[in-house]
Amino acid sequence: MDDVVAIPVVPDDVAQAPGSLTVAQLEALLFVAERPLKRREIAALAGVSREEVDALLGDLEVALGERGLRLVAAGDEVQLVTAPDAGSLIARYTGVEGAKLSPAALETLAIVAYRQPVTRGMIERIRGVDSDYVLRTLLHRRLVVEQGRADTPGRPILFGTGFDFLERFGLTSLDDLPPLDAEAAERLVE
């Protein structure tokens, strides 16, 4: 097969000419983008494969190391953000004071964050109280986002967390959430 001159087959999600992408170029692209970029989008722009983008993102994450920027990933999207340690400094610069959340809001947010995607019914089953208002507050603050609808009767809305959630809590991905401590809860009940 090697000696056959093959016409390059372009996958659907990749731009015309096969291109190249370096870690530095990827960093520059994410620096300029003022919105989260889809991995697919980056692959199409640079004319490289999804796998290559994934690998380069991994390299970039390592390269950023202890620098002032971090890579945040939520689902298929990635974004360059400031490092957690710079948080209070930047907050002073932008003058943005994060509003506090009530225990009910935090509890609801925890259910959404750990169990996403969840419906309102699932949240209320765990909390045992009506959660419509608190959920709407979280939606309004964009800590919780709609993620489509469940394929169950009534097609209820599925809720999850987005970039704003990760940024507010200083997490670079959902994997950074502290682990759920089921055993401690069990000990308390015993």
Partner: protein, 274 residues
């Protein structure tokens, strides 16, 4: 067995209805939700809580509560129904067969189910607290916000490129466009016409001053507006109520004759004298 004798309930200004209902027993003092939580954790013997007294105290407290705090009622019903379930299970001995069936897991054990739900809830409540600490530690991340200039560019604004236009050219252009554009028609104005009872009563009164007796149908013969007709009729009834006029009608649809009251009274007196 020590039994709680005095039960007292009062409503605090808490936002969550479960916490707003404050319960005081011999063995317990705190929010209603906490009472349930303690009993579920077996830290308080459910047998020492007299649910009848609890309900009685609640009704007493309800009598003094202001309106519009209905959520308190639903939360009380919800918590009490769970208390009743737990207590009835504590009171009734369980048959060994029943336990065997439960063991085979064909039926879910409500107590086990409750325990499982409690663990799950606590897990998320604690996770929420941990997240609250995370939030207050103040290490948010920031992304680049779209620059104002870039946003304006996307919205269609163009930077100033050529030499500024001569103000005279602009003035000329304005004058030409004024001539081209026809003057805008005055906006349509909707004025609601109000017909008052007083107005129509005055019409009837003035008609009665001109004639000793009037017929309503004749008075309204040139009126086409139904509302005016209706209001005039109502005004007539008002006048009759105020003992100003006397209304007579011999048959349905017949002429409605109106005479001033004073005149009629006098005529009655006259006829009595005569």
């Amino acid at each position: 067995m020590s039994v709680a004798t005095a039960v007292e309930i009062r409503f605090a200004e808490a936002r969550r209805p479960e916490d707003a209902t404050h319960v005081r027993l011999d063995t317990f003092d705190g929010p209603l939700a906490l009472l349930l939580a303690l009993i579920e954790q077996r830290q308080l013997d459910v047998l020492t809580v007299r649910l009848g007294d609890l309900a009685g105290a609640y009704f007493e407290a309800l009598a003094s509560i202001e309106r519009g705090r209905l959520p308190l009622l639903s939360s009380f019903v919800s918590v009490c129904s769970q208390l009743i379930l737990i207590k009835s299970r504590a009171l009734l001995p369980r048959a060994p067969e029943a336990a065997a069936i439960d063991g085979s897991q064909n039926e879910s054990d409500p107590e086990e189910e409750l325990r499982r739900r409690l663990i799950e809830y606590r897990m998320f409540r604690d996770a929420g607290r941990a997240m609250g600490i995370l939030l207050s530690s103040g290490k948010p991340l920031f992304h680049r916000e779209p620059a104002t200039a870039l946003a304006a560019g996307k919205a269609g604004a163009r930077p100033d490129e050529g030499a500024p236009l001569d103000p005279l050219t602009l003035a000329d252009a304005l004058l030409v466009s004024i001539k081209l554009v026809p003057p805008a028609p005055p906006p349509a104005e909707i004025v609601t016409r109000t017909i008052t009872l007083d107005e129509r009563a005055q019409v009837i009164r003035s008609a009665l001053r001109r004639a000793p007796q009037i017929v309503l149908q004749e008075l309204l013969s040139d009126v086409t507006d139904r509302i005016v007709v209706a209001v005039t009729f109502l005004a007539l009834l008002e006048l009759s109520k105020g003992r100003e006029v006397l209304i007579e009608q011999d048959e349905p649809w017949g002429p409605i004759r109106v005479t001033p009251r004073e005149m009629t009274d006098e005529s009655i007196e006259d006829s009595a004298d005569g």
